[in-house]
Every structure is written in structure tokens, then in C-alpha cells.
């Protein structure tokens, strides 16, 4: 399962399974509806803190829908509603008096196509902190540098912070988006196929980045690239559409097991490339 490109490969994290981790997010019987249509059905997962969890499956199986439910971005789709519950550090996310804005700060998101604002690099990263009232230049400078370092972008842009974010290459723009998400100090980072629009070298850099980030953050990544899931994640959830066209998690286990000794026949077919 190692990429054969002769590039530096990220180390496999062997301690992931042996060192138990606390549960960061608990997804309980979550179903997501678009009006009457059930798009995702009865998902229950335990997301480990400071671990990388991958969600894989054939296209159209509801991976992105599930991911977007975690930070309640699905709320933006008219007619969309959810049943079940998601618990973050003991607090339910789908409840009466939940502040959605705060949920989205605590759970950050990186999208498939980089989407920096048409502002300077500095202003892109500083956007979030400014929302929360950070005004002083020195605080902002510090936060911007810290976030860009965490996103492994600082050295490349330190001299051109006031250039437009759009002047960067695709891979750099995506790291800028990661820095932007990190600047509000989230606890969980959701990544929706973060490298699918990028070239192989940029993809590998993002994967290295994830290995560094997971020391401080919990990461959940959706990917259609199985090799990427195998390289990068500690736990993998396999999703598929059932007979009612709703997505379900059919298997969830340590990545090593999913890819070498899966329980479900369909998982085995998928990861060995027999379909999808």
C-alpha cells in the first residue's frame, strides 16, 4: 500500500492503535434528510481524539454529506434536517440552544477546492481572529505566523504576506485555507477530499502536514483515494449506499485491519479495487 513514486513517504503511525485515545466526538444514530429523502442512515461512530479518521467509499455514498453534518454545514441546504445526535466532548451539537456559529469555530473545515478570499494572505488568516475581537497588531501578527507555521506555509510566504491569497499555487492556496481554519483555534478539523484538486507533490505535502497537525487536533478526512486513506489515517469508516439509496457505515475499524483483514465482504471488494 506504499506509493511508488520515489518521494519521501510519511511514517506509518504504529502507536495509533496501541495507545488508547479518549473519544472526541460521538456520532449516535445519525440520519440526514433532504426533505423526505434519507441521504445518510443511522451512522454511529466514535471519533478518537488526536487521531485521523478517514471516511471512504464509492462516489455518491454520502461521505461528504456525513462530514458536513459534523459542523452543521448541512443546515445551509434548504430542506435539510438531521435525526440522531452528535456529541462533542460531552456536549450535543444538535440541540435547541446550540450556537451554530461556535460549533463551526470549534470544528473547522477544509474544502475540496481551495477557496481563499480575494484578500491578502495575512488578511485571509487574520479573518477568523478578527471576528472574535482580536484587534491588536502584535496579537494578530503572532496568530498569523503561528497558523502559517502549523500549515507549513510560513517559510514560503513570510515575505509576501500582503500579496493576494489568489497569487499562490493550488497547493499553497490549500495550505493557506488550512492556516485560515487553524487561526480560530479549533479542536476538530474536517477535510473534504482536501488534495483531490492538487498535484501529487502537493498532495504528499498535505499528508505530511496532517501527521504534524494530528498531535494537536482531531482530524476527520473524506477521501475517494484509498491509498491516501491507508497512508494517513488511524481509523477508517467504510460507507456504502443501501437498497434505499441511503448511505450507511458498513464497517469501522483500525485502518490496518480495514485494509488487510476486513470483516465485510463489500469492504474487501472495495479496497482491493474490485469495484468502485
Amino acid at each position: 500500500m506504499q506509493p511508488s513514486m520515489g518521494l519521501r513517504t510519511p511514517p506509518v503511525r504504529s502507536d495509533a492503535e496501541s495507545v488508547p485515545s479518549a473519544t472526541k466526538m460521538q456520532i449516535e444514530n445519525l440520519s440526514i434528510f433532504y426533505r423526505d429523502f434519507r441521504a445518510v442512515s443511522n451512522v454511529s461512530l466514535s471519533i478518537g481524539a488526536q487521531r485521523i479518521t478517514a471516511i471512504i467509499g464509492p462516489s455518491g455514498c454520502g461521505k461528504s454529506t456525513l462530514l458536513r453534518a459534523l459542523n452543521r454545514m448541512n443546515d445551509l441546504v434548504p430542506g435539510s434536517h438531521a435525526e440522531g445526535q452528535i456529541i462533542l466532548d460531552g456536549q450535543p451539537l444538535y440541540a435547541r440552544n446550540v450556537d451554530v456559529v461556535d460549533v463551526r469555530r470549534r470544528i473547522g473545515m477544509v474544502f475540496q477546492r481551495p477557496n481563499p478570499f480575494p484578500k491578502s494572505i495575512y488578511d485571509n488568516v487574520a479573518y477568523g481572529p478578527r471576528l472574535y475581537g482580536v484587534r491588536s497588531k502584535s496579537n494578530l501578527d503572532e496568530l498569523v505566523e503561528k497558523s502559517l507555521r502549523q500549515a507549513a506555509l510560513w517559510d514560503e510566504v513570510r515575505d509576501k504576506l500582503h500579496q493576494s491569497g489568489l497569487s499562490l499555487s493550488g497547493g499553497q492556496q490549500q495550505r493557506l485555507c488550512i492556516a485560515r481554519a487553524l487561526a480560530v483555534e479549533p479542536e476538530v478539523i474536517l477535510m473534504d477530499e482536501p488534495a483531490s484538486a492538487l498535484d501529487p507533490i502537493s498532495t504528499l505535502r498535505i499528508e505530511e502536514l496532517m501527521h504534524d497537525l494530528v498531535k494537536d487536533y482531531t482530524i476527520i478526512i473524506v477521501t475517494h483515494n484509498m491509498q491516501q486513506a491507508a497512508r494517513v489515517s488511524d481509523f477508517t469508516a467504510m460507507m456504502m449506499i443501501d437498497e434505499h439509496r441511503a448511505g450507511r457505515v458498513i464497517e469501522y475499524n483500525a485502518t490496518r485491519i480495514i485494509f488487510t483483514n476486513p470483516t465485510d465482504r463489500r469492504t474487501e471488494d472495495y479496497v482491493t479495487g474490485r469495484f468502485g
Binding site: L131, G133, N139, E185
Partner: protein, 289 residues
Amino acid sequence: MNHRSIRRQIWRKSINSVMLALCGAAALAVVAPLLLILGYVVREGLPAITPQFFTALPTPVGVPGGGVVNALAGSLMTVGLGLVMAAPVGILAGIYAAMHPDNPFGVLIRFGTDVISGVPSIVMGIFAYTLVVLPQRHFSALSGGVVLAFIMLPTLTRTTEEMIRLVPSSLRDGSLALGAPEWKTTIDVLLPAALNGLVTGIMLAVARAAGEAAPMMFTAFGNPFINLDFTQPVETLPHMIFTYAISPYGDWHGKAWATALVLITLILLLNVAARLLVWWRGRRLGLVR
């Protein structure tokens, strides 16, 4: 970063609610005048509307009754003449612009059309005056038609261009591939396919021209009688409204409202019909679900 500051969160939330509510209020404020205007026009104008209103000539001050038949005729004449003059040019120019979207000339046409539509109608009126009235030494329906043609031109060009663009290129290619020359393709294939789009453009252009009062003041000028001679002055609906409204006579004010009711009904019907036509056509082509 003190993102947990409760006060800051409350502040952000309140600003959010207030500003969004203000936007809703703005939307109401923008739409309210339409309803108010229509309401008043109907309320003040309806009492004076009788069948006679459409068939009689205006009566002198103080004499009750009377109608606007001269203005109806005059409006028909000027708008009709303007349409006859502007439609061929506008449709052809629109076809050109649709066929050559990237050609600098095509871009120039589109740009020029947009710019013309921004020229005040009174300036158009002066232009028509110098072109037609001065040499002829008198006001006429002809000059009125000319100025309305200029005013209708941009609308016709723009709508034609957009409608021709909507015709799938496969239709045009099919005809050309059979060996038909361009002009025949246009007449036999393009125009019929875009037909109700063109009709829409004509309706919108007519609606706009029918309401123009300012340029009429020194082209068509006005006439208390029906006149079907294009070389003589005629009365038009909007000009009549203006004359009645600024007069000091109360009963003429009432007639102004009534004429306004007739004019605005006509214009709104044209606009609604035009939009319905576009929607219906869009459904037929499968563009609108």
C-alpha cells in the same frame, strides 16, 4: 484569543439579527412605492373610466366628460412608427452581436447598446428635433416616431441578442451543413426559433416607448384632435397626463389619473405578458424546471 468572551458573542449575534432585519425592511421599502402608486392610480383614476373615455375627444376646461381618443391614436401612431423603424435595425444588430460575441465589433455593439440606453430621453428628443422638426419647421408624428425608434433600439438589440444566443447552435449548424447560405438560415431557422423571444423584446420596447413624455414635448407636441397625418402634430398618452397634471384645474387632475390608469395598465400588461412568454418558452426548451 478570548473567543469564549460571552459579551463578544452576544454582540455579534445582535448585530447579525439587526442588520438582517434591516435588509428585510429595505426590501419592503423598495417594493412599497409600487403598491402605493398602483393603489392610488386605481383609486383616483377608476371613477373617470367609462367607455366614452376611450372614444371621445378631450373637452374644454370645466366641461365634464371627454376622453383621450386623440392621445390613444397618437400613441399608436408614434409607437408604431418607431417600432417599424427600429425593429429591422435592432433585430439585425442583435443577430450580429449574437453571432460574433468575441469579435471586437460585436463587443462594441453590445457596449454601445448599453451606453445608448443610458442616454436621457430628453436628449434623444433634442436630437430628433434637430433632425426632423427643424428642417420641416413644424412638429409632427413623424418626429415623435423617430425619437421613439431611438429609444426602442437598445431594448430590441439586447433582447434579440440574448434570444438568438439561446437558440441551440445545433439548429443553425444543421441548416448550414445542408448548404444553406447564412441569410436563408437566419430567416428559415433562427428567427422562427427565437420568435417569441423577439416578440418579448418588442413588447418590452413598446412598453418603454409608450410611457415616454419628455421627448414628445417638442416632437409630436400635442393636438386636441385626432390626427392621422404623420406630418402633423399628435397627442400622446404620457404627454396628455403631464399637461393635465400640471394644470391648475381640479377636474383635469382627475383626468390625469384616469389617463395614467389606462397607460399603466397597458404597460404592466405588456411587461407581464413579455415575462410570461419568456418563462413559457424557457419551459418548452427545458431550461426551466
